[in-house]
Assembly symmetry: C2
Homo-oligomer: 293 residues x 2
């Protein structure tokens, strides 16, 4: 019987812990965490994501500021906004919601963020600190996966962990973190990608599979061994006429079949997805502590 | 018949290319590259390494400055020296030879170096830029290994590359670089370490093995398959009374046996070792170009 890794529950647990810690902080006269989010343009998905982040801040007792800029904002104007946020002592951490309009260089924008306020963990300096095992802000999805593994006490030490997909925001950092010399980690890690041959055979030897490629039902039951731990990062919209909105959400895993061979598995939705908000809030509280020093 | 990957020759080839490019630069009136090396204390090995770096600079026509500080130098004094080097427009790149005396925090020192002059590639920002595939200074040994693979046209694409050892200066960056989406790279990468189980079985499936653990003769012929590519980063002093200096140098690989099954193999000495100097010089020239912009 597989244990369902209930990311929704873990995320709410973490948020409750953060709420209590924040309440105690404020009662002791310490600074209340304050997250700012910059949203450029009118992309509906981005609006939804940012709104959820702001709402989560309210739930745990953080202050939040939403800065909405029009689609026509120039790169220079955005850089000036970032400079203000970098220098504003009231703001402990901030994010610039991606993607940005095409006339703005995302790389340049990310590098302009003060690494000490970079609660998305995207700045090269924070990526490097992660690699070197130094205190840093871990990116939201990898951090969320580590929290799930930790809270369900999944044994990762000496296990063979296969990562499918080498994106800069999930697969690659996950491969680094799972191989590091602490828990959760200390796995033997194989990073696979579009150029990998024999993926099926590699997966069949895996104790833990973390998949983030955006292809519904990609990982099938014949590709995994009995007792495997499955972390499914995919969130794919699959057309479905029986649903009011015309689609359903599916992960990268053929869930109904793979679950039969799994010891632990994340569902989609309700697995890794809800953890990203918790990670952002953890980073924001840590930024507050760091910048109050 | 294995091809011997002659790092000594490749290193000299690269140095000759750098010498010609530097000569042409200077003739066109551009700045001559200038490397500074900071050596704290009297460690004999460190003195040898630094002397070799300075000598290599002369060979390719770079300027070099050796800053020798006494063992009793305080962290604050060293930090002031670094500040001067960071600000000195004549110095394009510099290194602080490690290890430092125990009363000095290495991590703090590395982080004080201007990332644009960090030709050792140890600053977290440069490590992060490596992960993100941005232009950066790659650390000497990983960069040297990539150069060897490239110049001998070793096919890495879609190959299974097993890395043994997860050090921050070799194994871990190598695992990141070999998995990236360009050549040399695009391998399926497995990072193994002290907590790995079934290392033998994992190695037996490897097309390429990169080993950096400092244990002589660790990788034996029964652990590898026919046609394997072997990159041996180990440089171990093994007591040997037949040698004048009382020891001989051996890698981490049982060379005489493993070579029989290899398609390509690096010897020790004369394989990866000589490449580190070439890498440092490449980074210094690149720093000169970067900082002259």
């Amino acid at each position: 019987m597989a244990v369902i890794l209930d990311g929704k529950k873990v995320s709410l647990d973490i948020q409750e812990e953060l709420r209590i810690e924040t309440k105690e902080r404020v009662e002791r006269g310490r600074k209340k965490p304050h997250l700012a989010a910059v949203l450029v343009g009118d992309d509906p998905a981005s609006q939804t994501y940012v709104a959820a982040k702001v709402k989560a801040c309210e739930r745990v007792g953080f202050d939040s500021t939403l800065i909405k800029l029009p689609e026509i904002t120039t790169e220079k104007e955005l850089m000036e906004e970032i400079k203000l946020l970098n220098e504003n002592p009231k703001i402990d951490g901030f994010i610039v919601q991606l993607p940005l309009p095409k006339h703005i260089n995302e790389e340049k924008v990310i590098q302009a963020i003060n690494p000490k306020k970079d609660v998305d963990g995207f700045h090269p300096q924070n990526v490097g600190r992660m690699v070197l095992g130094l205190p840093t802000f871990l990116p939201a999805t990898p951090n969320g996966i580590l929290e799930i593994l930790k809270r369900y006490k999944v044994n990762t030490i000496g296990k063979h962990c296969v990562i499918i997909g080498r994106s800069h925001i999930v697969g690659l950092p996950m491969s680094i973190l799972m191989g590091q010399n602490y828990y959760p980690g200390n796995s033997t890690v194989t990073l696979t990608h579009s150029r990998t041959k024999n993926l099926k055979e590699i997966c069949q030897e895996a104790d833990i599979i973390i998949i983030a490629i955006g292809k519904p039902n990609f990982l099938t039951a014949d590709m995994v061994k009995e007792g495997v731990v499955i972390i499914d990062v995919g969130i794919n919209r699959v057309p479905d006429e029986t649903k009011k909105r015309g689609y359903r959400l599916e992960g990268d895993v053929d869930y109904n079949e793979v679950i039969k061979k799994s010891s632990f598995i994340t569902p989609v939705p309700g697995g890794v997805g809800p953890m990203t908000i918790a990670s952002l809030l953890i980073n924001t509280l840590n930024a507050t502590k760091l910048n109050s020093k």
